[in-house]
Symmetry: C2
Subunit: 196 residues, 2 copies
């Protein structure tokens, strides 16, 4: 069936995406073929454009189509705050909340003894450079509440003497019910309780 | 952020695929950008090729890159059996089992009073034409065991006098445990019991 080779290749490639397996890749490809004009060809074009133009910001590691991303390039965002995140997905999550007005620094992962990820494998030296050259007043560590995330947070905090280093609060998520929360979260929320 | 417009457009388009929502589309796009050479650009090319070449077989409704699909075109598959399926995904599922050696007919859906799908909306007239012109000995109805699927099966069977019309057996799936089966399947399996 050499004439269906392209379709089979497309299914194989789609099945490599996170969240899709062989079955959902087949469903997605059939959907794409049925919606050729509205979805398939625009998607192919968008992928081609992103594939040729997307790059990591030389300053912070964010992804955009320029060497310096719009956030690093914006005067408005230069308020002296740098929010340190693990991954671009975390940066996007922060941006969706719309509440942070400073700049970011994307580490590209966390320190991990198990996976042999050291400081030189992450964008940590570049962070220390930025603090020396940009007018930074506060470093906000927005790393995951995991062992590796917290190890990374402490490692970074130790290397930034003389700078205010903060981290995101831990506690009950908005809309969360106590009954469904784990013990660690309840303990953290109780310890960080505030006067009403 | 006009420079991230292409990336946002790509996320929007990916989120329209079945099985992906906004969150998994963002994850998939970040994965694609990281694996630009191995996945993103090959995927864009494969989509473009499929988008410009994929078409429905004029005879059976299968999808390939030719006007007549490889199965309809193959002499070997002309054994007089036509397997009627709802959708190309069902044809692919039959082909994966590798057990059917005849040709197919893809209806493109099922009759449905609720969704106002009548016989002229499906590929039923073309099926009746094929039976008149091809040397058909048996029509195998491989339609879903749903109300609409069974209605469609009976409608087709009524319009094919003088032809052997069969349908897939209903019963316990291979590897299935009785405890987890619904009453309807157990009833069908008991009624169609066979001597060992």
């Amino acid at each position: 069936m050499s004439d269906t080779r392209d379709i089979e290749l497309l299914i194989d490639l789609m099945a490599r995406l996170p969240g899709l397996g062989p079955r959902s890749a087949r469903r997605a490809v059939l959907h794409l073929i049925k919606k050729r004009g509205q979805v398939l060809l625009p998607l192919a074009d968008a992928m081609h454009r992103v594939g040729t133009s997307a790059r990591e910001c030389l300053n912070c590691g964010n992804i955009s189509t320029r060497d310096i991303c719009p956030i690093c390039d914006s005067e408005k965002r230069g308020n002296g705050q740098i929010c340190v995140v693990e991954d671009v997905a975390d940066l996007w999550a922060m941006e969706r909340s719309g509440v942070f007005q400073g700049r970011y620094h994307v580490l590209g992962g966390t320190l991990s003894a198990l996976d042999a990820v050291g400081p030189e494998d992450l964008r940590i030296p570049r962070l220390i450079d930025r603090i020396a050259t940009e007018n930074v007043t506060e470093v906000i560590l927005a790393l995951g509440a995991t062992v590796d995330g917290q190890t990374t947070a402490h490692y970074i905090a130790d290397r930034l003497p003389g700078i205010t280093v903060t981290s995101l609060a831990q506690g009950v998520p908005v809309g969360g019910e106590l009954d469904y929360l784990d013990d660690g979260t309840i303990t953290a929320a109780l310890r960080a309780r505030r006067a009403l």
